[in-house]
């Protein structure tokens, strides 16, 4: 090994170390800054209690519930839509449809979240208000529609990749045994791509949980337990964005770091799951 090679390796290694320190230091910061709360409350209190800062209750259960509810519901909407779109792109539609649809989906991954929220505020919120007589119109339902639309393109692209990774011989075998495109898609392609599909879903769940702007702009931000989709609710992410202006010394302020921790743990679990699934998918196909 030459000196130059050793030097290059050292510099690049140092940069990698710096980059790898980032995810760790984010977690450490969250834990350290949330500590004032942990000294006066137990973890269960914080995770299962209600949010009444004036009464000295800093539980984040309502926010966690709203986040999970919103994320799971938008996943439930986006999954069939993405599967359908990916199916069209995979070949259930003629190329006249497929090619522009694929382009459009790719471009949609670039739509700014804040624009989804913006359009939601001026189009969806009044519509929901008039249709359901739902107070201000800012509620989980108003956030659900744009949020599911936002995660659909990425999910569709994930699914398309998973379908494209299905080995050709399997497809040929299905076609040769007389399956038409739809039968082949449902009986052969989806089952053999199931690990890739699962990984795509888990990652999209992470994105839905982590989204801030749509929930902040459309969900209403009332810090109480959501009892229905027409209720104003506050997600963990919106909670962080709203409480940030509080006094730095207060327990209220420390509670947003608990939210940060919960979000961090949720999304990194999603990332780890997706990674394991993809690794399994690779082993399976390779």
């Amino acid at each position: 090994m030459t000196r130059r090679e050793r030097l290059t390796r050292k510099i690049l290694g140092a940069a990698t170390l710096c980059a790898a320190a980032l995810p760790l230091s984010i977690l450490i910061f969250m834990v350290v800054l949330a500590r004032p709360l942990f000294s006066s409350f137990s973890v269960t209190d914080l995770l299962t209690g209600t949010w009444e800062p004036l009464q000295g209750r800093y539980g984040i259960l309502p926010m966690m519930t709203a986040s999970l509810l919103l994320a799971l519901a938008s996943l439930a909407v986006a999954f069939p839509v993405s599967l359908g779109c990916a199916g069209l792109i995979f070949g259930l539609a003629p190329p006249v449809v497929t090619v522009p649809l694929r382009r459009l989906v790719q471009l949609m991954t670039g739509f700014p979240t804040v624009v989804y929220g913006f359009v939601g505020v001026f189009v969806l919120v009044p519509a929901v208000r008039d249709l359901f007589q739902a107070g201000s119109g800012r509620c989980l339902l108003s956030a659900l529609v744009p949020l599911s639309l936002m995660i659909t393109p990425t999910m569709t692209l994930f699914f398309s990749d998973a379908f494209a990774a299905v080995p050709r011989p399997i497809l040929l075998a299905a076609t040769a045994s007389g399956a038409d495109p739809v039968q082949r898609f449902v009986w052969v392609v989806i089952p053999s791509a199931r690990r890739g599909l699962a990984a795509g879903m888990v990652l999209s769940f992470g994105r839905a949980v982590g989204d801030t702007l749509i929930a902040l702009m459309l969900a209403g931000n009332a810090a109480r337990m959501p009892s229905g989709f027409l209720e104003s609710s506050r997600t963990l992410t919106a909670h962080v964005a709203l409480v940030i202006a509080a006094d730095f010394q207060s327990l209220e302020f420390a509670s947003i770091f608990v939210c940060g921790m919960v979000l961090y743990v949720l999304t990194s679990c999603a990332a780890l799951c997706a990674w394991r699934m993809r690794a399994a998918a690779e082993r399976y196909s390779g």
């Binding site: 790898a20 910061f29 839509v81 804040v114």
Partner: protein
């Protein structure tokens, strides 16, 4: 025929899904264009001040988007300037110099980082600025520099992954060409591997620019404000387009402000979409870039 029935249903379902996505896109774009297009004029950017004075005379703009556009531009430039060297170096290290278990662990680390919600990244940036405020100087607080640093964390995984996968995609026969001529690994990297994966890396950087330009949650926590003028230093608060859009949607004071909000939404949408379009075009070209044929 019973068999043909469910197949037709599946096909119809797929088309319905496609229709839903297309109409969603049309609704978003259509609304932004219909409401925003009439207002996209020089007046939208510069308000009452003439463009020349604002650009070259340093005249402050109070009722236009100009400071927000400049703020976003600085943000993006700063974040990418920080993310590019770090991300490139890390991507190169992962692709070329790490093996086995270490590589696996590092890849998982960056997968986790890629999944961290932007509001958590913003929160981290905010706490860093608190730390600086306490430890270094009480004058320091959330500012352009902190925001750019936080955005760097947000887009770092994109740059790392783009670099890593572009390098790992270099075919084996290209990889050993220079080595067989006596080049050492560093020469091979600088003269063959990086030029060969240039497009993949470039598309990753473009995506990073797009993400920086559109992200709102990070800057919301790290120093963006409604009125600050064109930032004069890295330690100033700043304006930014996506935040302005958010602000207008929650509390606009006048119809003019609302119009500016529509204009800003259209501009941001246009910028983001074109960045992503170019990024995809660049990357697609890589796929068809059959250089090493016989």
């Amino acid at each position: 025929m019973k068999r043909g029935c469910w197949e037709r249903a599946v096909r119809c379902g797929c088309y319905a899904a496609g229709f839903w996505v297309v109409s969603g896109a049309v609704a978003v774009v259509g609304f932004a264009v219909r409401q925003g297009a009439p207002h996209v004029t020089p007046k939208l950017l510069f308000g009452g001040v003439s463009a020349r004075e604002a650009l070259f005379g340093g005249a402050p703009v109070f009722d236009g988007l100009w400071p927000a556009v400049v703020g976003t531009f600085y943000l993006v430039a700063g974040a990418v300037a920080l993310a590019a060297p770090l991300g490139l170096a890390t991507g190169i290290y992962l692709a070329e110099f790490s093996r086995g278990r270490l590589k696996e662990v590092l890849t998982v680390f960056f997968d986790v980082l890629a999944g961290v919600p932007s509001v958590v990244v913003g929160l981290f940036g905010f706490s860093v600025s608190l730390l600086l405020h306490k430890m270094v100087s009480p004058r320091l607080g959330p500012c352009l520099l902190v925001a750019a640093f936080s955005l760097m964390i947000l887009v770092l995984p994109y740059v790392i992954r783009a670099t890593q996968s572009a390098l790992e995609g270099v075919p084996q026969e290209v990889r050993i060409t220079a080595l067989s001529l006596g080049a050492d690994p560093v020469q091979n990297l600088a003269w063959v591997l990086i030029p060969h994966s240039f497009r993949g890396i470039a598309s990753g950087l473009l995506l990073a620019v797009g993400r920086c330009a559109e992200d709102t949650a990070v800057i919301l926590l790290t120093g963006v404000v409604v009125t600050a003028g064109v930032p004069r230093s890295l330690l100033d608060p700043f304006e930014a387009l996506p935040f302005y859009i958010y602000y207008v949607s929650t509390q606009y004071a006048s119809p003019e402000e609302l119009e500016r909000g529509f204009g800003a939404a259209l501009i941001l949408l246009g910028v983001s979409v074109s960045l992503f379009a170019v990024a995809y075009a660049v990357r697609r070209a890589v796929g068809h870039w059959a250089l090493y044929r016989a």
